[in-house]
Amino acid sequence: MKTAYWRPTWGLIHQLYIRTTSRIPNQSRLGSQTSTLQRSLLALSSSQQEQGSSGSRQSHSFSSFPSIAAAVFATIYMTCPILKADDETLEPPKYPWNHSGPLSSFDAAAIRRGHQVYKNVCASCHSMESIAYRNLIGVAYTEEEAKAMAEEEEVEDGPNEEGEMFTRPGRLSDHFPAPYPNDEAARYANSGALPPDLSYIVKARHHGEDYIFALLTGYRDPPEGVNIREGLNYNPYFTGGQIAMARALYDGAVEFDDGTPATTSQMAKDVVTFLAWASDPHQDERKKMGVQALFTLSVLFLFALYSKRLRWSLYKSRRIEFRDM
């Protein structure tokens, strides 16, 4: 997200710290294996440099005022979202998504409900052209259900032998139907604004799931003095505060087939889970492989440690003598 003002980053804090603390080369870290020759060389070099810029460093204590101030500021800045807010934009809070952990899978029931919300509420304006009906099999629907859903749609297919385009019922391999034939039609139907394709929206926005959820549930009256342009709606989580999309989720807008009560936040949570799956359908497999990889690598690491120690034992146990010739 681009901001109009300059934001201090960690790199800057680090520079502040380095430039405000004094540096003394540390000799006490050397072990007993260094020879007198090496130690005398080091003493020579350290006497030549005062605030040395090369070689080993040991910084003075962290007690200089600028570095403390920088550290305190950085901590407060990172923990208080309100400080990072632009004039009009609010950063979304962190929600405890149950697919967030390194071992956590997506909730299949939530993906199913989320797809129902998408189909009934969002698909009238938002396309999702990268997802096909067959992608849903084994994730949220069985093959028969997915096939039935696909067949509900009429799909225009390529020229037949007579050279004419024809429509046919959908197949599993078809992608989700787009509500508008092209971007211009979409803009025309939405007073100039283009509803973005939702296939990768969770990856395409900062703070992904948190942002989308906050956006969907964040419609409210603008504060005093804030004037909203004609045709736009106030949403503090959208950059600039004025979004073309009107509030879409109301209680009871969708009836879920598993009987879950369809409150706004329930629908928002489920549709965001669906969108998160759509943006990253291989997340479950990747996490499983990640666990396997970490385990295998740690076992191999132990072998590597042993092997290294074995090879190095020759050098760790040798003795070097310097003789005056």
């Binding site: 071992l103 956590s104 299949a108 029931a109 949220a140 069985t142 996490k287 499983k288 385990f295």
Partner: protein, 70 residues
Amino acid sequence: MTRRTGFAVGLRETLYNLTMRRNSVYVTFLVIGGFAATKFMGAASDYVWETYNKGKLFKDLEKSLAAREE
């Protein structure tokens, strides 16, 4: 005879005598062992994954769908 020292000496000795005296035996051990290890690893990680994510996976959803049919 040299004195073997370190940790798990007995285990290392038997492993060496069983698998590492001849290279042909060693290679066979690696191939079969690798296959068995990946199988075990797959089963173990599947078990961990399914236990940790009980109720969220598609197989649980399928079960509740079938129950709903009845």
